[in-house]
Amino acid sequence: MEDDREENVQIVIPRSLQNRLSSLGTYVKIIVDEQETGIPKKDRLRREELQAIRYVVLIYMLNRIFLEGARTAREAVDELALHGIPELVIGRTRFAGRNENVMLGDRLSGQLKELCSGLGLDDLLKERYSVRELVLRLMGRVRDGSAVD
């Protein structure tokens, strides 16, 4: 059931974002396995603990994708504006200045952070970690049972 639910969550992620996220769960597992080599099975992460780490990493990377999407949109329109190009149009979506489309990634990041505010992930989402650093940090939290932050 847990896996089914995980699949359900992933299904609604737009395909273009899935490209960025599809291998993430596997990558997290590889890092965890690497860290747990030689550790007795009883001392390894439980299934639900691994799942929780995967979800936190997913939230972290989603937030990064939103923020990076907004940054690249801003920088693209700013550079083009320097050369007299007032807008970038992709399909029917118009990017110009700081319009809604340019800022959409920032807005989604804000919404995600707001929803996650009760989970104790606020400080974590402000920092910049590699996936490996993040997983190691989260594994440490699981082991000592403390809050993520």
């Binding site: 639910r5 997913l58 690249t72 920088e75 693209a76 050369h83």
Partner: protein, 240 residues
């Protein structure tokens, strides 16, 4: 049972709620983020030339309806290159064109061969080339190619970086010799080296390939969200 450090059930519900509530904005974001990233990489290349003191002029095709110039990038491998915008960068007598998704012949292509060997490059820096007669399938000659970049909206794993090295081998194999030796870092760079720009991060498998690129002194660059192309005229690239 939830792990003690975080409530798994709440965590999953939060994610599910977010995807439900923000489905439409996420779809809009997701449907344009790849192209936005490509536009960003194109803009970063012209930004690199601008910051290096080159003059940059963007030429646009005419809108079929209004007859007015319109900025249009080529977000597809199909299409006549003349129907899309490009940048002309000039520094004294040196002039280059920066084009998006231009088809360029590989180094070993020969006109007499049965099937054409060419590749659409996400960003191509070429010597001034009149493409007005080019069809969607016409490739610019390889000798016109100065440099190029590939934009991937994803994090990089080993296979992606290895694939890029293969592309460089097809397009500019001389870049894969021990070029960056001695005083290379102090030399002035006239053009960006061929690069792979990923919007995400380098997974450690990709980091491993990057280490070997460094050791082999290849003249190529890998850029990520942390190591960026534009913003430094001296191109202190991530793998140098």
């Amino acid at each position: 049972m939830a792990a003690p450090w975080i409530d798994l059930r709440t965590l999953k519900k939060t994610l599910a709620d977010f995807f439900d509530e923000q489905r439409q904005p996420i779809t809009t974001f997701g449907s344009t983020v790849n192209q936005t990233f490509e536009a960003f990489v194109f803009a970063s290349v012209i930004g690199w030339y601008r910051e290096c003191g080159w003059d940059v002029v963007i030429s646009n095709p005419l809108n079929e309806v209004t007859g007015k110039p319109v900025f249009k990038l080529k977000f597809s491998t199909r299409g006549r290159p003349a129907d899309y915008s490009h940048a002309t960068c000039s520094n004294g007598s040196v002039v280059v064109h920066v084009r998006h998704q231009l088809r360029v012949a590989t180094r070993h292509h020969r006109d007499k061969q049965k099937n054409k060997a060419n590749v659409c490059l996400d960003v191509a820096v070429i010597r001034p080339t009149d493409v007005s007669s080019y069809s969607t399938d016409t490739a610019a000659p390889n000798e016109q190619l100065i440099s190029f970049g590939e934009a991937k909206h994803m994090s990089a794993f080993a296979e992606l970086v290895a694939g890029f090295i293969g592309l460089v081998h097809e397009m500019q194999p001389e870049r894969l010799k021990r070029t960056r030796i001695g005083s290379w870092n102090q030399q002035r760079v006239d053009h960006p080296a061929p690069f792979l720009y990923v919007s995400g991060v380098l997974y450690f498998t990709a980091e491993g390939i990057k280490e070997t690129i460094l050791r082999r002194r290849y003249d190529i660059d890998l850029y990520t969200q942390e190591d960026r192309l534009s913003g430094s005229p001296s191109l202190p690239a991530s793998i140098r």
